[in-house]
Amino acid sequence: MASLKDLKNRISSVKSTQKITKAMQMVAAAKLRRAQDAAQAARPYAERMEQVLAGLSKAYEGRAGAPTLLAGTGKDDVHLLVVATGERGLAGGFNSSIARLARDHAQRLLGQGKTVKILTVGRKGNDILKRSFKDNIVEYITLRDVKQIGYANAAEIGRKVLEMYGAGEFDVATLFFSSFRSVISQVPTALQLIPAKLGGGEGEPAAAAPVVDYEYEPSEEAILESLLPTNISVQVFRALLENNASFYGAQMTAMDNATRNAGEMITKLQLSYNRQRQAQITKELIEIISGAEAL
């Protein structure tokens, strides 16, 4: 049984932990709002981009000579997994759930005899994946020093992916990130970047829109060719922003839980502290009384 002094120390240490988790929760909540706004603000661009690309790429349906970013290389032997995670931990299962999705995917591909290359964005995911796929990681990008994720960061990652694609280093690229549903729900998601999957899911309304005869300047093909690489960066950018919002959402929830747990723990410790204190008082009283009676 711990002594009274030990219990007192425990209580004060748990209390200061609680203070920290509470502060972290509030900071995460404030940052979440900003991250959410940023994710929201980026949406119109990505959506328009998708609509336009879906429209343009329809022209290529079932036709040869489509740009390889759209049609792929015709093989699927080498897969590139772009895994975007957070830079920091203390966010519940945020980083590990993305990494797990990527790991399962990689293992399945390896089981099929494909080659897997991994590009990690974010320190945490890199740390986790390094354990099982040390030799598969080809590139590690950290956004640690980046305060506010800008399009330039995403463009850089996009450029790297395109460079590798141009050099024929992979056939299929998939992006892993956590998409932000709500503060309590973040869904790890895999999105195929190359060959581009357009109009998946929400593409239907775009397809239903009346087909207008556009004039293109320069040609349709040239526009498509210049937009496809941009699209990669845009998708990466969107993923980073979603990730960011998800991270703070997850952190907020995790810290909320931690604060509550600390509260419970304090109640329990306080209870046993009080009991012990009372027991000691009773014991001392008995000693005094029995001492007096003995006289």
Binding site: V52, Y151, E217, T230
Partner: protein
Amino acid sequence: MAEGIKLEIVSPEKLVLSEDVRSVTVPGAEGYFTVLGDHAPMMSTLRPGFVTIVGLDGRSDHFYVRSGFADVSNAGITILAEAASSLADFDRAGIVAELEKARADLAGIEDHEQRNFVQDVINGLSNLMVEAENLNQSHVH
């Protein structure tokens, strides 16, 4: 004829501008073009340059855009640019630095195609500087 045209300038980070205007002049890949209300649907890629907007009240405004495209449809004109900012936020020093860097790059490149590409970039950037200069002057008046 419609009174004006709905203009949206969107950068990856945010919606830069959304309003009804009288006319929009866009730096298309094959030259500047002006869009008024009821324009036929068209799509054009952009080169770095300045979008000139004439508002419904006749006042003009300039926006700097960089690599993207303009989509003119019945709903209005949407400019999707990788970078877009108002003229006031135009980062002159940044462009100058980029220009310097591109010039330095050019000196080190042997490959003919790449040289052409970098030269194009340099030309584009220099044009940009001149245009920015002109716009600034016209604003002083």
